[in-house]
Symmetry: C2
């Protein structure tokens, strides 16, 4: 039986919390992307939600739209229409971050209209779910396993917190706090309460966010309850089994076969492997990490750390995406990393950024921050077109030319997810602790932080990720002693640190991949960082058969790929030379990032038969690579991340 | 509108028919395998059929077993229990060929018992289908699209013909002839007749077989009707649409979305691409080729030849399997040939042998015979374990060690299919025409053939496929002039032909890859053939991305693979050297065939991380390959057909 108490606080380091989005003003690489989200994507998201009929479903004074999206073939309990509240919640969240960047009265009015509809929809007792109140009344709380009921609540909560931070308006926050109170009355260990938890984790991390925003501990307690209860078998029965029988259904008549799909097969503290649906997994682990941080609960660490290792050592795409399978939108088995059929849902890479960020809540550790950066700049960012209007859902690492971003998708979870991540990127750059500030990511920005009882402004000046030089300037409101921990990216083979012009040996101050500088900081103190950023070739473990004889190119945090528009057809006929160097080049239409150019070979066969005895001939050719996340922004064509490479003999 | 008439007989060459199985006695490579089928597999097949409950369903005097296998999830009109008649038909067919090889009174008695049950089940009007008569009465002919109704009839017909040839017993044949007459009364262009055709082609080729065995032309007419009617839209309506509406269902509520799945989307003469379910496709094309041959109907040739080209030029695995996708058990798009997930159903390779053999009905052409041989020795034969008791359903070209043959399968179509093919292999060796005998395949054997009005015994003495020398001895009952056409395998770079000791230049007599020897043949005439059989490396077209930088090894008709039991783990870490030679070696447990051994490299990384900057080092190592069709007969381990190979610089 699992020990629920937070017995291991002595083992925990200082508690790190991310700054709220309004504390960090971002320019540089992400600035224009936030601008695009604020001016274009936010409106697009709301347009698409409303065009789909979502406001008709939410607003109780509008005619009931009824069932618009049929129940899914083969999974007769779910319609994506059940998720509409979450689509609104995430879209409002993304739009709210946009408002922080750039006030927009029209956008704010649109959100106020939606919030008002939710306010009028909310049940007297605080319940709020447009599907169950308008489309399937009488069924609330009857199928937590499948129907995303608390998931919807979580995303609305996150939207409400963001809107509050962006505008100071409390209405949405109050609505969601009432709903959270109602949920806390329904779910819990008390008599007559349900000992259930959502089939799609999300409420856990959302309640922590709500608790942090309102200062109310009871929301943190509810988050912890959901984490602790998951996968238990009180009286020998799993909640979902019991719930199915109460619906008159056979528990084993379940489309996804086992509860690994929702990581609820065993209690979370006993789990050691990443399994099931990828986004559910990463949202759950995010919630677990948040609960661990907030309660100083070290009993969650073995699961978190081991699962993290299982994911990153054996199941992560080089782009930071994960979950190869379309069938369960998730995991299959170790080293199963096919390229052309990679599912690698955008939401999964986004969720990995969320999880990594929360692991940093336990203290700076490059193991988490490096992966956060990899997922952010590659597997997540690829989900958004440069013009902010089109989106990828699944993200292969190879394409024959027919994989393109969507204008919209019948399950539109990914667009607002990548939008809200990018628009709130400031919150991921830093961690604030009692006597320490951690710098996790580099981007031209100004942050108003707090530590050691003082306000500290930190300005970053940098052209990252195009170049690896960063100048940080500190302005504490008065001189104060604290630790500034600077991440030294694992990909950089050579790091130079200067503090106020004086060179510092990184080896002397490095801890878990961060340079920890503890001193009395004064206004005007500055640090110059130089991260060597060579073009690098990555090799995959031999157990990833499809990547053998190939390399993935990276430069700094950016993973690169070949596109047909630059290199012609049959990208698999291209071969890199063993020692060839790369030069950076300007190419239009790839967001101002450098392309990499080298000389390699193209293999040409004299035969166009399917199989032939004659080996192809090699012809020298220029090979041009662009950052993976910008692919499919120019003309149609093939794409390839893992490029054939001749071995060095 | 398609021209149905057989207007192009002037374009057709002589009509070739395969000898019946009793005309050819096979030894050599296939002899022991036929022995195994006769003594073991035939019994195993009947055991499994009966253990599944099939005889309980067929025998009207046994208690009704009811629905034993639920309707399929997602396809609520089909249960594999509907196919039981076909499983019996094919198993009886395989067993019948076994009886020809080796009389077995016990086996014969088992078949008689089953035939007797069918006889007692048969409706007065001739209808015979154990599912519709015993499990779902009142539903006959209501769902041709899904329910395999005529498919079952076809396999029972094939079984009946084989049993007749094996034993001289007419009972089963008469039963099936009565059923065929009944089907002919139900289906046809006349008033009150149904203009339907089966969703799973099979009846077409079976009716041709029945017509040839009984001499009754009306069965050939019915086969032609089904071929001609397929995909038509009389009065603008597709038969399956109309049939669905008559069942009260929406035609578009169809699990497989389009009628490409059953190659009935457009009339067959208009088709130019291989699409849909692989086995359905190849059975249909087999039936079309038979109808073309029997009626001298050249109007089917453009479709047949173009579809053949589409399959073999862009959609065929090097093993002769096809159909990469598990979802539709069939085709997806050109050059989609993934290795680890290849579906390549055993039945599909078997059906390709059937189709190729029937294309040869239009005359000898190496284009068809080479593919027939490739599919036979690799993609089909792999479906049967060396001991004859275990079976593959799907056949990847790469495995991590968890893909194994089945003892049985809930859809047991493949075991009796590969068994009946192997046990009747004699019929594929030759084609008989008016003044010509074609030799398509080489195997130690004695055949009693007929041409130019004379009986001709042909003896082949050969260790093929271990060696490429073949000695043929002819014994016409008296001297007679005819053409003997000898296939010159496309894989052989050098061919020597001696007739009665005199060397003959192949170039002078070659036509479509056959050496055509027209002369007055006398008893004792002999031909020595020497086919050079070097180890060869095949390269795949650049559009098959996963095979680039790799080769498939073949020697003669056998395609080779690496197995973990010979080479250790991580087969994708092995690299062939550019010019390395191979030696043949004896290895236990691989059916007496040669293994191929060479020196190559194993790549070893100093890191076991998932991704690393350090390139692996190469260490020389012995690499041992075995024939693909014998894999998974020894210890568990990985398997790999497309092996990495260093380019020649």
């Amino acid at each position: 039986m699992t020990n629920f108490s937070s017995a291991n606080s002595a083992h925990l380091a200082a508690k790190f919390r991310p700054p709220s989005v309004d504390q960090v003003r971002v320019g540089g690489f992400f600035g224009p992307r936030i601008e695009t989200i604020a001016t274009t994507t936010a409106h697009t998201l709301l347009d698409r939600c409303i065009a789909a009929g979502m406001l008709d479903q939410v607003d109780p004074d509008r005619p009931n739209p009824g069932l618009r999206i049929p129940f899914q073939n083969g999974n007769d309990t779910v319609s994506t229409q059940m998720f509409w509240d979450s689509d609104f919640g995430k879209s409002i969240e993304a739009a709210a971050y946009g408002l922080l960047h750039k006030p927009d009265a029209a956008l704010e009015a649109r959100i106020d209209e939606i919030v008002d509809a939710y306010g009028r929809l909310q049940d007297e007792n605080g319940y709020l779910n447009s599907w169950y109140q308008r489309i399937e009344p009488g069924k609330r709380w009857t199928n937590l396993r499948d129907c995303h009921e608390l998931y919807n609540a979580g995303h609305l909560m996150e939207g409400a917190v963001a809107y509050y931070h962006a505008t100071g308006k409390r209405r949405f926050l109050d609505i969601m706090a009432r709903y959270a109170d109602h949920i806390a009355s329904i779910f819990g260990p008390g008599d007559g309460q349900k000992r259930g938890y959502c089939g799609h984790p999300e409420i856990e991390l959302a309640l922590v966010k709500l608790g942090r925003a309102t200062g109310e501990r009871r929301y943190l307690d509810l988050a912890r309850f959901f984490v602790d209860e998951r996968g238990q078998r009180p009286n020998g029965q799993h909640y979902y089994d019991r719930e199915a029988r109460e619906r008159g259904r056979d528990p084993s008549d379940y489309h996804f076969a086992t509860y690994e799909y929702s990581q609820s097969h065993i209690p979370v503290r006993d789990q050691r492997h990443v399994v099931g649906h990828a986004v559910r997994a990463a949202y759950l682990y995010s919630g677990m990490a948040d609960v661990s941080t907030e309660f100083g609960d070290g009993s969650l660490k073995p699961a978190l750390e081991t699962i993290w290792g299982h994911l990153t050592d054996k199941n992560l795409y080089v782009t930071g995406g994960f979950g190869p399978s379309a069938h369960n939108e998730g995991l299959t088995f170790d080293y199963d990393l096919p390229n052309e059929t990679a599912y690698a849902e955008t939401c999964a890479a986004v969720a990995l950024v969320f999880w990594a960020s929360r692991m940093l809540g336990l203290g700076p550790d490059r193991a988490y921050a490096d992966v956060m950066e990899r997922a952010l700049y590659n597997g997540a960012l690829v989900g958004l077109s440069l013009d902010g209007t089109q989106f990828f859902y699944d993200n292969p690492l190879e394409s024959r030319g027919k994989h393109h971003r969507w204008t919209w998708h019948r399950c539109p979870c990914c667009p607002p997810n990548i939008a809200r991540l990018v628009a709130s990127i400031g919150t991921y750059l830093y961690g604030e602790a009692q006597d320490e500030i951690a710098v996790h990511l580099y981007c031209d920005s100004v942050a108003e932080l707090k530590t050691a009882g003082v306000a500290v402004r930190i300005r970053q000046e940098t052209a990252y990720p195009v170049e690896g030089s960063v100048r940080l300037t500190l302005e504490p409101e008065h001189a104060a002693e604290f630790t500034l921990s600077l991440r030294l990216p694992g990909w950089s083979p050579q790091v130079t640190i200067r503090v106020n012009g004086e060179v510092l040996d990184p080896a002397g101050v490095e801890e878990k991949g961060y340079a920890k500088l503890t001193r009395l900081w004064q206004a005007g103190d500055h640090i110059e960082l130089e991260f060597a950023m060579p073009v690098q070739r990555l090799y995959a473990n031999a157990k990833v058969g499809v990547d053998q004889g190939r390399v993935a190119l990276q430069r700094g945090p950016l993973v690169y790929c070949l596109e047909g528009v630059d290199n012609g057809e049959d990208l698999n006929a291209l071969v890199l030379q063993p020692q060839s160097g790369f030069r950076c080049e300007v190419v239009d239409g790839i967001g101002g990032l450098p392309a990499l150019v080298t000389t390699g070979w193209r293999e040409k066969s004299e035969s166009d038969h399917l199989y032939t005895l004659s080996a192809p001939q090699r012809v020298p050719t220029e090979i041009r690579a662009v950052p993976y996340h910008v692919w499919d922004n120019r003309d149609d064509g093939e794409m390839l991340v893992w490029i054939r490479a001749e071995a060095d003999q």
